[in-house]
């Protein structure tokens, strides 16, 4: 048997209607403001003067920058890691960040042209490698062209995916097509690529040398020949709207030449080219 629902009998009937009307009016207001201001982009500042620093870092920097952030004396640092493309999109949408650390130089350069960040500086380099499960029999780049090999790469918009496509473009058309034909998933960030390989779901994935290293025994790596290797450079830029740009700039300095550089080196990153 159906139970009757308690009804809102004690509410003055007209009040509900007026409330809904008012809410709808508010909605229309939001809509109008939205239309007028669409695409205006970032205006809100960074962490407003409470002394803390919000660093948005590329997924591959999670460990190294995480460690550096803990020891950084200049300010209390909160770090958030994701694909560089997602971070750039967040900054475009006005995320209140102070420092952007990208796994490439393109995204910071774009944001700089748009006036959203200050002039970017390169702070580290990395290498692209092929990660395969620890017990894999694959041993060279050309093995990836074997039919049936399950390959995962980064989405074209995330730097690791763009670097991967640079490598593939340097191969013969036949080999490139064969490898692309084996691609089973385009992951939003490099950590998802390495996870799928480490878990054994994929037979191979293109990742940074540092990611393969921190995955331990679960994966081993296949080097990409020097002639095919893309130039993987990490650039950082202070967010223009940052309320704490001095500390942000100091944090970036440290990554280039002080404690941060040591943390990066320990994790396997190379000095800036």
């Amino acid at each position: 048997m159906r139970r009757l629902r308690p009804t809102g009998r004690f509410v003055v009937p007209g009040l509900t209607n007026r409330l809904i009307g008012l809410a709808l009016a508010l909605m229309v207001g939001v809509a109008l403001v939205g239309c007028g201001g669409s695409g205006e982009g970032a205006s809100s500042g960074g962490s407003e003067g409470d002394g803390s620093l919000l660093v948005l870092g590329a997924s591959s920097l999670t460990e190294a920058v995480g460690e550096y952030a803990e020891s950084f004396a200049g300010a209390e640092v909160k770090a958030s890691f994701a694909g560089s493309d997602q971070l750039a999109a967040q900054i475009r949408q006005g995320a209140g960040a102070d420092l952007f650390l990208s796994a490439d130089t393109d995204y910071p350069a774009e944001l700089f042209r748009e006036g959203l960040v200050e002039k970017p500086r390169v702070f580290a380099a990395n290498e692209l490698v092929i990660a395969v499960p620890g017990d894999s029999e694959l041993s060279s780049l050309s093995d990836l062209a074997e039919p049936g090999t399950k390959i995962v790469i980064g989405d074209p918009s995330v730097p690791v995916g763009a670097y991967t496509r640079t490598v593939l473009e340097r191969l013969s058309a036949a080999e490139r097509e064969a490898i692309l034909g084996n691609v089973r998933s385009e992951e939003p960030e490099v950590s998802a690529v390495i996870a799928k390989v480490a878990q054994g779901a994929a037979d191979a994935g293109f990742v940074y040398a540092t990611d393969a290293r921190s995955a331990g025994d679960a994966v081993k790596t296949i080097a990409i020949p020097a002639g095919l290797q893309p130039q993987v450079a990490y650039a950082g830029a202070v967010v223009a709207a940052s309320g704490n740009s001095e500390a942000a700039s100091e944090f970036l300095d440290g990554l280039i030449e002080r404690e941060g550089a040591e943390d990066l080196q320990r994790a396997g990153f190379l000095p800036p080219p």
């Binding site: 159906r2 809509a31 939205g34 493309d85 997602q86 385009e186 992951e187 779901a201």
Partner: protein, 270 residues
Amino acid sequence: MNRRSAFFFLAAFATLLTLAFLLAPVVAVFSYAGPGRLLDALGDESSREALLLSLRTTLIAVAIVIAVGTPAAYLLASREFRGRSLVLTAIELPLVMPPAVAGIALLAAFGPNGLLGGLVDDAGVELVFQTAGVVVALVFVSAPFFLRAAIAAFAAIDNRLLEAARTLGAGPFRSFATVALPSARTGLASGVALAWGRALGEFGATLLFAGSLQGVTQTAPLAIFSDFSKPDGFVSALALSAVLIVVSAALLLGVKLLGGDRAIEAAPTP
């Protein structure tokens, strides 16, 4: 102002705040870029493919959920047995499971190195990185929505109807088909709508278990995530979001019109 009207004022303010907060993002999706640009963005091949894939995978998943879930719900609703409430709780577990957990759990169970991965492989089925894997993820997360509604709907049937069918000589199949199913139809239909809505919105389990590849595993929510970070992709992400909002709203409205929400509220709590 007396205490009564002060209370109404506060409650009215809270209601207003609630409505404004819940509706502002929805309105913003439609008004941020304007309808013209949204429609243009839907012309993208990747957007269209994502929507078609979402339609295909959710329909298959919901069909599986209905086919297997309806008799299961009937049994669970009509029989008393030890541990029944435990079973009902277990069925609802995916409801409260974070999607990423669902994805990891599916990988641990049915992935190549998963506990049942060997069986899946022996059966000649491939799930990870395949459209079939998307369907598995969708069934996992959406089934509880249907089961809950279906169990409640079957439990609400007047037992005398079923007894009458039996005394008139109807077998169990016939009384299920001619009495139970028609009596429970509104509850079942709203369960279908809720399950479908959940399946359409599925993101985390799909990404972790099935991956993301255009035309194969990249459903609309995954395409939204992928578009969001592309240069100029924000508008196409909004366009896909607008479609999902419209469809979800239609499903929700369907549930309300059917009165299925009442059937669900009346569900016996385990």
